[in-house]
């Protein structure tokens, strides 16, 4: 039932698109764009996983031919044995695909696009066409990066951080076209992300339904708003740096070329000035969605809503002044190291506040363990480990030992995999009915959860010990070093568990695909949640609401004494509620 949205907003009067192309490919509907981002980034998530498995094979069984390695070209893995230059491509592209083309689009591309208009009560994004352009730039960036895997000399190989001069000089890295394609793809992705962010910010500021005041917005929208601001201000710096790198690689400029006065540290400063806000872009949306899911699962209002909002803002603001903690050992001035250490120590505090608030939400709650709630609680449990292991690195003397070792790899996987990816598994299961009108299977969801949770910890926790022993990052063959030989059984154990972890993701993939067609039909409000999006049918029609709804309360009024059910939707008008004051602009509502 498609209803014509009847207000005078720009571009909402037209009918729902009918043709296949306008409806699914070149659609300006924020929900379709969200789903397009979903399929694109799930593909890249799978690709990143496959690259990781090849890395784990080489680390677990150095020099042995990889089963199925025969399909790889002779220049990369003769007879299935991975070569060092192919290994550092795997390292680089695993990091690049996962960070830029899987987790970031999944969190920001999918859920900002899908949730913001639905949760704020808007017809669509402020600029639907720019929103479509943002997807197609991300798609182009993804295809360019994908193509760089198959170019003759192979893909980029200077780590996802692409430190110059290794990334800038093909004679030193061994790859010319692959490195240039990396830079081009990142510039395109930067553009896509800027267009997306400006859309989300404008929609959140100006297009909230009447009554949806700033402090009645759900925390997921708050975190997406702050993430959009981080993205808006950080991505241009990365695009600028990638452009300078591209110029160094193509027309021979000298930005990062030491003999001609260029400074390799300039790249590190630019990259990490973007890099740290980027890692908060990768975690804040997950924190927001987890707050929504935990409140829903505990049937209890979020504990300390205002302090959660201020914690997000504090994380975002502090995120801009800590980038130097990635460069303690890089030859940067040590006194700078001290100031970055203090700001890094301070940034641990908002994370602690959020963690305790999640626990406060569950305290004396009525915990209902549907699959999203399990993932959300696992997020809190794993993010705590990731956050705590971050403190070891903030202490600069300790960082001297564990910088660029597997301790860092353990930390980043605990916050990115244990954090963002668990939250994403939960969020995809939670909003799947709103996207596709069907429920994902609860049984298979739980099986997938437990397998992933167990194997995930078996893979990444021992990496802390590898790091403490001094195992450097991005090492093709650890058995070259006498002090790493006793650790080789650990590496093999981690690799085996990694294969099992990867295998158990098949359950999620099958559950996701089969439920598209044979999943149980979704009721109107499957999770009994208060959000505006659950007042719409599943899946939601083009233009969302015919009449913009009015909002009477915050999003977390669970177990409210005013009603006997344990949830109270934001749009439900109780006798005691006043009609929200609407901006008078002379136009009939």
């Amino acid at each position: 039932m498609t209803t014509v949205a009847a207000t005078h907003d720009v571009g909402h009067g037209e009918h729902a698109p009918s043709g296949f192309w306008r409806k699914y490919i070149f659609s300006t509907d924020h929900k379709t764009i969200g789903i397009q981002f979903l399929f694109l980034s799930l593909f890249f998530l799978l690709l990143g996983g496959i690259l990781a498995m090849q890395m784990r094979w080489q680390l677990g069984f150095p020099g042995k031919p990889m089963p199925g390695g025969g399909i790889l070209p002779e220049s990369m893995a003769p007879g299935g044995v991975i070569l060092p230059e192919y290994y550092i491509q795997l390292v680089t592209m695993h990091g690049t695909f996962m960070v830029f083309f899987a987790i970031m689009p999944l969190l920001v591309g999918v859920f900002a696009n899908f949730l913001i208009p639905l949760k704020l009560g808007a017809h669509d994004m402020a600029f639907p066409r720019i929103n479509m352009a943002s997807f197609w730039f991300a798609f182009a960036a993804g295809m360019v990066m994908l193509a760089s895997l198959f170019v003759p000399e192979g893909a980029a190989r200077a780590g996802w951080t692409m430190y110059a001069p290794l990334s800038a000089r093909p004679d030193l890295s061994g790859a010319e076209l692959g490195q240039k394609l990396w830079s081009v793809s990142i510039v395109l992705l930067g553009l896509s992300s800027i267009l997306g962010s400006l859309n989300y910010i404008t929609t959140i500021i100006n297009n909230r339904a009447p009554g949806m005041t700033w402090f009645r917005m759900p925390l997921s929208v708050w975190s997406l708003f702050i993430t959009a601001i981080l993205g808006l201000l950080a991505l241009p710096v990365l695009s600028g740096a990638a452009i300078m790198l591209l110029f160094d690689q193509t027309i021979g400029t000298h930005f990062f070329d030491p003999p001609a006065g260029g400074q390799p540290l300039l790249w590190q400063h630019l990259f990490w000035f973007f890099g740290h806000p980027e890692v908060y872009i990768l975690i804040l949306p997950a924190m927001g969605m987890v707050s929504d899911i935990i409140a829903n699962g505990s049937r209890k209002p979020i504990f300390g809503y205002h302090s959660m909002v201020f914690a997000i803002i504090a994380i975002a603001f502090l995120g801009w002044i800590v980038w130097g903690h990635h460069m303690f050992m890089s030859g940067m001035n040590p006194t700078l190291g001290s100031s970055f250490m203090i700001s890094t120590m301070v940034i641990a505090v908002p994370s602690a506040i959020k963690t305790f608030n999640w626990m406060g939400t569950m305290w004396r709650g009525n915990l209902r363990f549907h699959v999203p709630m399990m993932h959300a609680v696992a997020f809190v449990a794993m993010f705590v480990i990731g956050g705590l292991s971050g403190i070891f690195m903030a202490a600069t003397p300790v960082d001297m030992h564990i910088h660029d070792t597997y301790f860092i790899v353990a930390h980043l996987h605990y916050v990115l995999f244990g954090g963002s990816l668990f939250a994403l598994f939960g969020a995809i299961t939670y909003w799947y009915p709103k996207m596709f009108g069907r429920m994902m299977s609860e049984r298979w969801g739980k099986i997938h959860f437990w397998l992933t949770f167990v194997f995930y910890n078996l893979v990444f926790f021992p990496m802390h010990n590898l790091g403490m022993a001094g195992h450097m990052r991005r090492i093709y063959d650890p058995t070259q070093y006498d002090f790493l030989k006793p650790l080789q059984p650990l590496n093999t154990f981690i690799s085996v568990c990694a294969f099992l972890l990867f295998a158990s993701q098949a359950i999620f993939a099958l559950n996701f695909i089969i439920s598209l067609f044979r999943g149980q039909k979704a009721p109107q409000n499957p999770w009994l949640d208060n959000g505006l999006e659950w007042t719409l049918p599943n899946p939601a029609p083009h233009g969302n609401w015919a009449q913009i709804p009015s909002v009477y309360r915050g999003p977390y009024e669970f177990s409210s004494p005013e009603v006997e059910e344990d949830y109270l939707p934001q749009t439900r008008k109780l006798p005691t509620d006043r009609e929200p004051a609407v901006l008078s602009s002379g136009a009939p509502s």
Partner: protein
């Protein structure tokens, strides 16, 4: 429900109070924030590279032609003024004067890009490349006889072409956008006193590009 006659220059309705600006204006301000960060990256790198340069920097005016660029700067400032006139015209509902002043602005912008392009070809002809100084060119002799510092000419070329190149690109985008508005919106009378949001947004963008050029002109050409 027909389209309301009320002015579209207000934020969308019905909505909770946000910023007192229509979506396009708010969107342009947010976009300009990201552009500020982009140029901060480029100019910041220029500053760091120049202060950390292994030798002293080339004197102003030796390589770059200051008089022509000064005129070019004046031209861009004038086109900013004509943009304000265009905006003032349409806010009083005067579509004819909007057409005139917008055309003046487009021509001003196009001339700026033209002069910049001419400057580039002239510089490249004299041997000034993004990678430094071409051997056997006129500038190579200046480097040889010491008027130009050999150690930093590589950086001098890289930073100059990156910053002014990208600024030129942004000016070109502005000219194209204004030409598009002129041909497909202004000439078809789409803008009225009730709705001139497009002009307001492009005007914001144009003033931003002009402001960036003033900063660039000072730090690249004059010091």
């Amino acid at each position: 429900m027909t389209h309301a006659t009320a002015s579209l220059m207000r934020p969308p309705f019905p909505a909770e109070r946000g910023v007192d600006a229509h979506n396009l204006k708010l969107g342009m301000w947010v976009f300009l924030a990201s552009e500020v960060m982009f140029f901060t990256a480029l100019i910041g790198s220029y500053v760091i590279l120049r202060f950390g340069a292994p030798g002293e920097w080339a004197k102003p005016g030796v390589v770059l032609n200051i008089p022509v660029t000064a005129f070019n700067t004046f031209l861009l400032i004038c086109s900013s003024v004509s943009m304000v006139k265009a905006f003032a015209a349409i806010s009083d509902g005067d579509q004819k004067m909007l057409k005139v002043w917008l055309l003046v602005t487009i021509i001003g912008g196009a001339m700026f890009v033209g002069i910049q392009a001419y400057e580039y070809t002239h510089l490249i002809h004299r041997g000034f490349l993004p990678s430094g100084v071409r051997e056997g060119s006129e500038l190579a002799e200046l480097v040889a006889n010491g008027t130009l510092p050999a150690a930093t000419m590589g950086l001098y070329g890289s930073t100059f072409y990156a910053m002014t190149g990208f600024h030129g690109f942004h000016v070109t985008c502005g000219v194209v956008a204004m030409a598009y508005l002129y041909l497909f919106r202004v000439r078809r009378g789409k803008y009225s006193q009730q709705d001139y949001r497009g002009i307001e947004a492009v005007g914001l963008y144009w003033h931003f590009v002009d402001l960036v050029w003033i900063i660039l002109f000072t730090i690249v050409y004059l010091i």
